[in-house]
């Protein structure tokens, strides 16, 4: 039986896991076809604009808010694409950035993402190249990031208050508001121009994007643990999460999608023989 992929706090990845993650990102960033980083980043904003934020009208669904389901499907597909380019062992899922932690309130962006070079080579988690020739004007440059004051990041209390909300629409709206703030904070600016995380158009090219959204997805997971995995507006269930082919009802359970979240994950031992129960 296949085991679940465990998505860890990025600060808890060991050296071999971080190395494997970087290898996957680095390789994907060299691939320009539909297996590569540039392809997946381009699904969010320019040039494809599939991302779903806030409420939209689609067909007979009035004010459908697919922010959480759409990004869950997006992360899943991206995670598979990265793992296609990563070593098989260790098996590493996308890590989450806990921007509400005491550590983040000191360092801001985790060091795994803020270090420009690793072992004398460019850190693929630090920045990536945006290649968007059909944008107006065309973009062909490395991503930029100018994060703000770490003290301004959301607190654990804010997160806990969020998780105590018991109505899905209320929860997703307030979580998305925090999400929006993190984008602006992480992109930031240098006084002249902003960073890419601060613009829907280019946000997904910044490697920290995926771990920010992993945190958002994790908070939905934690909320589901408290309030029910099927706790969602029923009219959303049959809606398709374009372009992924999954419906909302397909992405409610992270276990059904093959992953889970953990603060830590320690393999104590392995059963070498099948116990016989008489």
């Amino acid at each position: 039986m296949a085991s679940l992929t465990v998505r860890k706090n990025v600060d808890n990845l060991d050296a071999s896991e971080l190395k494997a993650l970087r290898a996957g990102y680095a390789k994907a960033q060299t691939i320009m076809d539909n297996r590569g980083y540039n392809h997946y980043a381009g699904l969010h904003g320019i040039p494809n604009w599939y991302c779903w934020h806030h409420s939209h009208v689609q067909g007979s669904n009035v004010n459908a808010n697919l922010f959480l389901p759409w990004h869950r499907a997006y992360l899943l597909y991206f995670e598979k694409a990265i793992r296609d380019q990563s070593p098989a062992i260790p098996k590493v899922g996308l890590p989450w950035w806990n921007w509400s932690s005491a550590q983040s309130h000191i360092t801001g962006v985790p060091t795994a993402f803020s270090t420009a070079t690793v072992g004398g080579q460019p850190n693929p988690l630090y920045r990536a190249k945006i290649v968007a020739p059909t944008a107006t004007p065309p973009i062909n440059r490395m991503t930029r990031r100018f994060p703000g004051n770490p003290a301004a990041l959301p607190t654990a209390t804010q997160v806990n208050n969020l998780l105590n909300l018991n109505q899905f629409t209320d929860f997703t709206n307030q979580l998305e508001n925090i999400h929006d703030g993190i984008h602006g904070w992480t992109g930031g600016n240098n006084g002249t121009v902003g960073g890419d995380m601060g613009s829907v158009a280019t946000a997904a090219w910044d490697p920290i994007f995926w771990s920010h959204h992993c945190m958002i997805d994790r908070l939905w997971y934690l909320w589901q643990l408290r309030h029910g995995v099927n706790n969602i507006t029923p009219s959303l269930l049959p809606m398709v999460l374009t372009p992924f082919g999954l419906k909302v009802q397909d992405v409610l359970s992270t276990n059904a999608l093959g992953y889970t979240y953990a603060v830590s994950f320690i393999q104590i031992g392995r059963v070498l023989t099948t116990p016989v129960i008489s």
Partner: protein, 178 residues
């Protein structure tokens, strides 16, 4: 019902200045002050939650924090976001960063007809909600009217957008729940 096309906030009182906040690279855009007040007698006698709903918020441009103050029309970027200053909370806009498409790409259009399966235009104005229960209750208990001031602090932008006139919405609802 589709949201109305957003219009500019009604009263801009301050030109863009380089930020004076703790986050010093940020820019302060034009501040909104509600043109009329709401009498506290219009509020119900009992409620457990009071939301300020910002309807028809545009999000095509820069990303910003909108700091919402109740009964503090002199609030600006230097105002501490505390309950004592009438700070209700902030809403955040994750802006699109301008139009990277060809001519017309970012023009908001309605569905072709009732059979149009496509979702509405990504730049349709949005709703933002600030839970303002504590400051609304405080204002109602100490005064006779309520007004709203919104201070937009621009955090991130692209070369394609304006950072002065970022806060645009249609109207504000004060919604109470029991």
């Amino acid at each position: 019902m589709a949201p109305k096309k957003a219009k500019k906030a009604t009263k801009a009182t301050k030109k863009t200045v380089q930020a004076t906040t703790a986050d010093n690279a940020y820019r302060v855009a034009k501040i909104y002050k509600s043109p009329k007040t709401v009498g506290v007698e219009t509020l119900p006698s009992e409620y457990v939650r009071a939301d300020l709903e910002f309807i028809g918020v545009e999000h095509a441009g820069a990303s910003y924090e909108a700091r919402v103050y109740v009964n503090n029309p002199s609030a600006d970027a230097n105002t501490q976001p505390t309950a004592g200053n009438g700070y209700a909370g902030s809403f955040y806009v994750f802006g699109h960063g301008g139009c990277f498409g060809d001519a017309g790409h970012c023009d908001i259009h309605a569905p072709r007809d009732q059979f149009d399966p496509r979702r509405s235009h990504p730049l349709e104005p949005i709703k933002k909600i600030v839970d303002a229960t504590d400051v609304i209750k405080s204002a109602a208990s100490t005064g006779s009217s309520i007004n709203v001031t919104v201070v937009p602090v621009v955090t991130s932008w692209t070369e394609l957008v304006d950072t002065d006139d970022v806060l645009k919405f249609d109207h504000i609802n004060l919604v109470t729940y029991y």
